[in-house]
Amino acid sequence: MSNKFDELKLTGNLPSPSGVGMAILRLTQSDDFSAEELARTIQSDPALTGRIVKMSNSAQSAGVKTISTVSDAVVRLGVRAVRNVALGFSLVSAFRKGKCEAFDYGKYWSDSLARAVAAQTLSRELRLIVPSEAYICALLSGIGRLALASVHPRAYSELLRRVAGLSEVDLAAGEREVFEIDHFEVAEAMLKDWRLPDSHALAVASYARPVHETVSLDKTAARLCTVLRVATPIARILLAENDAHHFHWPAFESALKLIDIDRARLCAACDGIAAEWRDWGKVLSVPTQSAPPFAEIAQRASESPTAGAQPAAAVLVNDIDPTAAPQEAEEEALAKLTVLAVDDDPISLKLLVTHLARQGYEVMQAANGTQALAMALERNPHIVVSDWMMPGMDGIELTRSLRKIEIGRDMYILLLTGREEEEQVVEAFDAGVDDFVSKPFNPRILLSRVAAGERLVRLQVRVAGDKAKMEQQVAQLAVLNRKLTTTTVTDALTSLPNRRHAMQTLEQAFERRDPGKADQLSLIMIDIDHFKKVNDEYGHDAGDAVLCELANVLRGLLRRQDTVCRLGGEEFIVVCPGSDAAGAAAVAERLRKGVASHRIRHGRFDRSVTCSFGVAQRTPLMQSHEALLKAADVAVYEAKEAGRNRVCVAPLA
């Protein structure tokens, strides 16, 4: 399942938190962030601050002191809960609309919010689980649907039309047929990816399954499941149209068997949920509607003989509205490009802004990396011109963070560098920087570099239409790939990048010629000695075990900048950007020793293996990466000839 999710992730179109949400995700990626840091990050967004404070007040029973600051909210709810809620809210604001025509984004969030509020209230009433945890788990319980709609807008539209009127479980079956993965699995993987608690991920994966199939869940996950199972029909009732609320009562009634609550208290709680849902809808700008009192709905359900029959098109929250016009492709008005200027020094920033504005760009500014990231995600500039060295998040980290998310991928990023940073340009290019200008900048040079970026941006916009088509094809291709058992870039046996990936990496590294001394590239080719004997004497199982073990050993011994791939058979290569032959030979020697001293056990097989290593460095005479590959290959051959288990370096000719 995780492989399939990784492929979805590779498309770059999975929903991800925006602005402050992203900053929070970054901050909390490590385990040692402080409550104050979190509170500070949240406070940089006033809207989010208000929502968090409201959240922490509504999660409490009446009579508890009302709080008014994020810091108090963190104290009351706990750091993790606040983090999770903030993430959820930032998703709501980032995905109000999208490209999947049959997916009703407003209704999706309306439903999610109703589930969240219902789950929170139920948790409080039943004292089953921490209310804020139930809230966030329910808010994200349908995120897999949003994800599939984002990654495969057209195919998901078709599917939604096909299954309109069927249940969420039927939708999931359709999803597996078309995408080889369903929205429950996607949601589970996404929650894990965002480091929400495992119990949340398990609950969103399992709540739609029959109760007897989920008895083995741990206590928290099981309770969350229960809450979701009751919250889901409540949300359906709340979202029902045309006075059809009571049609959904039977599903609710059967879910109620899971909990212990008397009827009067339940109806009061549900009316509370309805009111709170509308309230939250206003806060988050999510559409809601009013519903009759639940006691009344229950009464009508018991009177109506047709109550058991579900009206068509009422079960799935995202069924199509045939009258909805397809969304127009967004035509970007490009009279003026927007540029985000980032510098911690106020003088430099002011000059930068003045020069850019004089040139006719629409300029926004940020005084540090964190602020810049939030602003970039919020306002999506075409070009970012940033200082490199800044306290806190520097220009490189800013670039890395932007490149990780979809909208940041197309931005043209230009870094201002002082003399002392020039040695690190390779790192900067790796992080995804497009260009450099040295500081203090000469305005003419700076503006001509920005103009180069502008040409690129305009070109990108012109092909955006084609790109949308291409994206769709890519998404279809990804489906196809998932259907084929082999994945595109990973070697199935060892999980190392495969030959295809190896050739791409090598070619890209080969073509990249950076100025300065960092312009070096070396390659290590590795061939297992007498591997055929292993296969012949111990069987292919043992051979496979050797390959896997070897892959692990190699992976563990490499430097961060090096990439190891399996070419096929018993051949591996390591791409070493920034290394000369001597450096790569040292790495190869380390690998050689590591491999030779690692004992591999598999059945009768119980010994170490050795490898022959060929090292080659890129020289000016080499026309392409294939020449480099060839040189390394020759060096391996020499190592074999010279008696194996050794490193040979190709001559620098």
Binding site: D344, D345, P346, I347, S348, K350, L351, T354, H355, R358, M389, P391, G418, R419, E420, K439, P440, P443
Partner: protein
């Protein structure tokens, strides 16, 4: 701090503290659209810098290499932007010293920086008044 020995700042130092071509280009940049640009920049600079100079002095005195590097880095680019070339060059040396941890003589450099800033301040005020 920079007011302690104003008499030390000779007229000659003030006269060469600024690269007047930078000043001219900044004034030209402001032009008719934003005639106050240069004055604004100078005011921002004069408001921020004493604190930075103090931070450099403190870091030099306490042999705080990282603090020295950071404070000097910040001042280096603003000084260069306004044409205070000597001040900027001095910051560059201090930054380098901080980066390399080679702190011998940084207190003397910091003392020179105080004087150099005093000269740059005077020159900037003059340039901004004309």
């Amino acid at each position: 701090m920079n007011d302690q020995n104003p008499s030390d700042t000779s007229t000659e130092d003030v006269g060469t503290a600024l690269d007047m071509s930078v000043v001219a280009s900044l004034k030209e940049l402001g032009g008719e659209d934003d005639p106050g640009l240069f004055t604004d920049l100078v005011e921002t600079f004069l408001a921020d810098t004493p604190q930075r100079v103090r931070a450099i002095e403190t870091a030099a005195r306490d042999a705080d290499a990282e603090g020295l590097m950071k404070a000097a880095h910040g001042l280096k680019s603003s000084a260069a932007n306004l044409g205070a070339a000597r001040l900027s060059a001095l910051c560059r040396e201090l930054e380098k010293a901080g980066r390399g941890g080679a702190l011998e003589g940084v207190d003397r450099m910091a003392a020179r920086l105080v004087k150099e800033y005093a000269a740059a301040e005077k020159a900037l005020r003059q340039a901004s008044a004309t």
